[in-house]
């Protein structure tokens, strides 16, 4: 920024982007911790939530590799954002996720067998049964569209004067789409109770961040809509949760929308159909493991004497058995009936579709 301003020019607006981090890679505090860190049970459940996310992710990849699941988008390395976000929300808030936030969805109440069913290619996986999540949005495969849906959700909350907020997650790549910008803009001008969390994992399939945008930070995308913006260490679950709590609080107070950029890294391929060695250096990936959010949190818990190898093993066993039984339930689910295509196309099947349905069902019984 040049220091001098020509006579003809005067400064009419100034902005800054701040970066928030509490724990360094080794789990040592860099600053006084937020109050919620004193709640050891919470800290432990957050740690467990991240592990659950990671183990579920591994299970999905495994099921896909063995032909029992469709293409799956893994979230390895991004667990702190998922859990940091979900743990800061209330059940009455609404999650509007992309396709890489199983950790957040599970935290909020989506059943793992539901998510498996969805990725297994069955719409029933989106019929979330748990009352806590019946209003949460389905996984959004289309990049960025859901940012505007989240704005609509938040607009409804605001028009109904409810004490709730919407939370929308999307990737670094998504920030290039106009949908995200239009959502940012309307969130600003309508002062919506809405938090955008950009999951900046540095890659959009094969496209690295520097080919996505010339913006210095992704947080500054929010400046275009007059939002409160912040960048956080997305591998520091405490920072993520803290930033979210602040933003949610502002949203509920009527202070409007926020945009948070969580800086993290996609440690795995884009999805199970991808081979990232085609475009990404393995050394780069290896180096990023040092910032693993689980490792960091474990070190932190251990430094507080709240954790041990024994508890770690017990937790992993507990998680594995949970996931295995979810997978069993998924695998035992009866295959969908062809009628499923017709049942919910409209609230009531139109006459013309009835004939088609008859044809389809007849065919199925051929």
């Amino acid at each position: 920024m040049p220091a001098s301003v020509a006579d003809s020019d005067r400064i009419v607006a100034q902005f800054e982007v701040r970066y928030r981090q509490f724990l360094d890679e080794e789990g040592s505090p860099l600053a006084p911790l937020p109050d919620f860190c004193r709640d050891v049970d919470l800290m432990l459940s957050i740690y467990r939530g991240m592990h659950l996310a990671r183990a579920f992710d591994a299970k999905c990849v495994n099921l896909q590799r063995t032909g029992r699941l469709g293409t799956f988008a893994t979230s390895l390395g991004q667990e702190a954002i998922a859990v940091g976000v979900a743990s800061a929300m209330r059940a009455s808030d609404i999650l509007v996720p992309s396709y890489r936030e199983a950790g957040a969805q599970i935290w909020r109440g989506c059943r793992m067998e539901e998510l498996l069913l969805y990725w297994g290619g069955d719409e029933r996986g989106h019929a979330f049964a748990d009352p806590a999540v019946t209003q949460d949005f389905p996984i959004s495969i289309t990049v960025a569209n859901h940012a505007l849906h989240a704005a609509g959700v938040a607009a409804a909350m605001k028009l109904k004067a409810e004490d709730r907020a919407a939370v929308c997650l999307f990737g670094d790549g998504a920030t290039s789409k106009g949908d995200v910008y239009e959502a940012i803009n309307v969130a600003g001008v309508w002062q919506l109770p809405l938090i955008f969390m950009i999951v900046n994992n540095q890659w959009a399939i094969s496209t690295p961040l520097e080919r996505q945008t010339a913006a210095l930070t992704l947080a500054q995308k929010g400046i275009a809509g007059g939002l409160s913006v912040l960048q956080v260490d997305g591998n520091d679950v405490i920072a993520v949760r803290d930033a979210m709590m602040e933003a949610l609080d502002a949203a509920r107070r009527g202070a409007g929308a926020s945009l948070i950029e969580g800086v993290t890294y996609r440690l795995n391929d884009h999805n199970t159909a991808d081979d990232s060695s085609r475009y990404r250096n393995l050394e780069e990936v290896k180096a990023r493991w040092r910032f693993c959010p689980l490792r960091r949190m474990r070190a932190f818990l251990e430094s507080r004497a709240a954790w041990s190898e024994k508890r770690e093993l017990a937790m992993q066993a507990e998680i594995a058995s949970l996931i295995d039984s979810a997978a069993d339930r998924y695998l035992a689910t009866a295959p969908p009936l062809p009628d499923q295509m017709f049942a919910h196309t409209y609230a009531r099947l139109p006459a013309g579709l009835m004939a088609q349905r008859v044809e389809a069902l007849g065919r199925a019984h051929e």
Partner: protein, 326 residues
């Protein structure tokens, strides 16, 4: 009961819906204080306040996207896109989300929204203001597509659209906005969706059309009547889901069918109707089906738009061909 134009009937229906159902929210560009570029929403914000009737920023994708989110939260968004030429960016949200929210969540989340858009040309409007792409929209499973041809229908159909639990694209023929007045009773009575309306019974020939083109179709039928030919006129009303029964019944009777629409011919909705006849009315048809449509060219600027749109003369020519066939 009062004499209303079509655009006034739209206004009345919106007013009624806002009155009756607190979940109805009207929004779009310039719909608030201004009352809409065609005054369809005139006075609504003044009466119902700016929590029920909202001006949006200038972004069509956003309007569609907001509606989906609002609908998911139990509101009934009724939004306006000023002209059909600006609907294209909304197709993404319509096809990928609004139309499939119910099925992709297996009924957990629905999308009861209405998107009002002006339709068609013939009013000397600027470029992009005269489109008629209804067949593109009608191809999308999960949507409803409705187009009224009179003030009374506009009132009843708009109420039906708003009350429907699924997403509806509601096309308002710009050319009819102020063309005619009709007695419209504010009865709160909706007009059935999914059903054609036989505007005029006849025995020699079936004319199928929708929206503003019915003006020319009626005129052509008048000319035919003078010549002793009795044309049956079917107003399609709903393009999606569409009422093939009524058209088939009519053609079973008359044996001849002329379909008239303003949109370009190729893959226009006339093709769907002609296809239905080819599938289900072969034995009844006494003459080849005729389509009188806009040409497969870009809708021209105003000076040539009348050359583009089906004229009474072109309709009559097609009728003559159909009637001449032995």
């Amino acid at each position: 009961m009062s004499e209303l134009t079509l655009v006034q009937a739209v206004n009345l229906a919106l007013r009624r819906a806002l009155e009756d159902d607190p979940s109805v929210v009207v929004f779009g560009q310039d719909v608030g204080r201004h009352g809409g570029v065609f005054r369809a929403t005139e006075g609504l914000q003044q009466h119902f306040g700016s929590r029920r009737v909202l001006d949006t920023p200038l972004a069509e994708t956003m309007i569609g996207g907001l509606a989906i989110g609002m609908a998911a939260q139990g509101l009934k968004p009724v939004c306006e896109i000023q002209f059909l030429g600006f609907l294209y960016p909304v197709l993404d949200n319509l096809a990928n989300h609004a139309a499939r929210m119910r099925t992709r969540t297996q009924g957990r989340i629905a999308c009861p929204m209405v998107l009002r858009v002006t339709h068609g040309g013939g009013v000397h409007a600027p470029e992009h203001h005269s489109e008629s792409i209804e067949s593109m929209i009608a191809h999308i499973p999960g949507l409803r597509v409705v187009i009224p041809s009179s003030p009374r229908k506009a009132y009843g159909l708009l109420l039906a659209a708003i009350r429907d639990p699924d997403p509806v694209v509601f096309l308002e023929p710009t050319r009819l906005y102020r063309l005619l007045k009709e007695n419209v009773e504010d009865s709160g009575q909706s007009w059935p969706l999914d059903r054609c309306d036989v505007l005029k019974e006849g025995s020699d020939l079936t004319l199928v059309s929708w929206g503003a083109m019915l003006t020319e179709v009626m005129e052509a039928a008048g000319v035919l009547a003078e010549r002793g030919i009795s044309a049956e006129i079917v107003d399609l009303i709903t393009l999606k889901p569409y009422d093939a029964e009524t058209i088939l019944r009519s053609v079973q009777k008359t044996g001849r069918c002329v379909i008239v629409h303003e949109a370009a011919r190729t893959a226009g909705f006339g093709a769907e109707i002609a296809a239905t006849l080819a599938e289900h009315a072969m034995t009844a048809l006494l003459a080849p089906v005729e389509r009188v449509t806009g040409y497969d060219v870009v809708m021209p600027l105003p000076r040539l738009e009348r050359e583009y749109m089906p004229s009474v003369a072109r309709i009559l020519k097609a009728c003559r061909r159909a009637l001449a066939w032995k």
